[in-house]
Amino acid sequence: MIQIRVRKSLLMASGKTELAVDFNLEAGSFCTLYGKSGAGKTTILKILAGLIQPDEGFISVNDEVWLDTGKNINLPPQKREIGFVFQDYALFPNMTVRENLQYALNGKTDKNRIDDLLERAALQQLAHRKPLTLSGGQQQRVALMRALVRKPQILLLDEPLSALDLEMRQTLQTEIYGLHQSFHTTTLLVSHQLSEIYRLSDFIISLENGKIMAQGTPAGVFGRERLSSKIQLIGEVLSIRENGVVYILDILVGNNIIKTVTTAEEVQGLQPGDQVKVSAKAFNPIVQKL
């Protein structure tokens, strides 16, 4: 089990705010940190990694104390058994893929591990290439494998997928999940992406202004209203056109336009640009794979 309890004052654009969180993670669980930009997600990851010093705090990982400001215990990042995947990947441009992985080797680590990891991520063919010549997805894989070389107890992933396109994102989601399971690491992912969170996480922490607003399972945090066979969408009115006695309403939901016929009363008070909630009771949709 991993226990984290830290406090640090942050300098935000809007002034000072206090980051103050206290949470536990099950060993082997997959947890997602979720929250607006500037909420303090990256800061939490870096505090865990020892890259940022909190003003006060306690961190223990599987009964080993990494940080205890009360007792002046503070392991340097080098001694904490973590794997960190940075948002910009932070691959060393001067080294090949293999060298990037080898850089993390220390005496104790088995050298065959590099080959295993390269094979695991289907990177053998690219082992002699420099990172800048790789695609975003390939770079991401290298960063992930590099973070695993030292057999970390915790894997920290800072929005690793946000720069990738949909298809690549899905492939890598599967891969991250697979790695998480086969290496039995505890994984802490920062993500903005609802679908990512849903697919991967056992546990969600929702952060706002440095404080935890909610934590629990994805369904618990997001899916409060259980509306089986009910639909509820938020959209924006694009246009309202008269068509005989009825009105045709164009509503934008995401990038979809819903056209719906409404009565004059319903339309009253509505104008283009208004945010509306669209809900339907007897909704029985047909779902087709694209």
Binding site: K46, A49, G50, L51, P76, P77, Q78, R80, I82, G83, F84, F86, Q87, D88, A90, F92, P93, N94, Y103, A104, N106, R146, A147, V149, R150
Partner: protein, 223 residues
């Protein structure tokens, strides 16, 4: 006209040794400046940059006082180490290191500041120390800045004149570098030798700068 090649050779030796020492000295300094949040940073930066704006005669005057066997550290060097600092190659090296320091530190500092922080952080999380990070990650990735700093320090040391005139003493084979040689040839109306020396330096300086500007369109501006 029989030309004495020794001043040229001496100049390159001086520039080479100075540049080497500047690499050793400039690197930690640049690293510190790039990472510190200390309040004294602008003061340190201003002190390092002083040789760019200070007249060589001011620097020469104070170095002369400091280097003289009755001053410090001149007394230490001449009495304890038995290596006098005035009128000696050693003295020129010390003077040149001070004189060319900003030309090494500023490009290195700019180069280090331009690297994303995450490279350093990644290296730490992979279990590597600060020193290993510097040498295996940071330096290899600021090669253009290293080139610029090295080349400019070298070139600027070659261009040293006023300082050498004051603390060097024009000793053939010891302190008579080519910029001084040119001055004396001109004073002695030996325009022929002055032409040869000057042309060598002009062509060399131009080629050095052109290389820097072509290899690295931005970084000379980081000086």
């Amino acid at each position: 006209m029989n030309l004495d090649w020794q001043p040229l050779w001496l100049t390159f030796k001086l520039a080479g040794i100075t540049t080497f020492l500047l690499l050793l000295l400039g690197l930690p300094l640049a690293w510190w400046l790039a990472h510190t949040r200390s309040r004294v940073k602008p003061i340190v930066e201003a002190i390092i940059s002083l040789p760019i704006v200070l007249p060589p005669s001011v620097m020469g005057f104070y170095l002369l006082l400091a280097f003289s066997p009755t001053g410090f550290p001149g007394s230490f060097f001449s009495d304890v180490l038995n290596v006098p600092l005035v009128f000696s190659f050693t003295g020129l090296v010390v003077g040149s290191v001070i004189y060319s320091l900003p030309f090494m530190v500023q490009p290195l500092q700019a180069g280090l500041e331009s690297l994303p922080n995450s490279l350093t952080e990644a290296s730490y999380t992979l279990g590597r120390s600060k020193t290993e990070t510097l040498f295996r990650v940071l330096l290899p990735n600021i090669r253009p800045a290293l080139l610029t700093g090295t080349v400019l320090s070298f070139a600027h040391t070659i261009g040293e004149f006023g300082l050498v005139l004051m603390i060097g003493g024009n000793i053939p084979g010891e302190t008579r570098v080519v910029s001084i040689a040119i001055y004396h040839e001109v004073e002695s109306l030996n325009y022929g030798s002055a032409h040869v020396y000057s042309l060598v330096l002009l062509v060399l300086s131009f080629l050095i700068l052109l290389t820097v500007y072509l290899v690295n369109k931005r970084l000379v501006k980081t000086l």
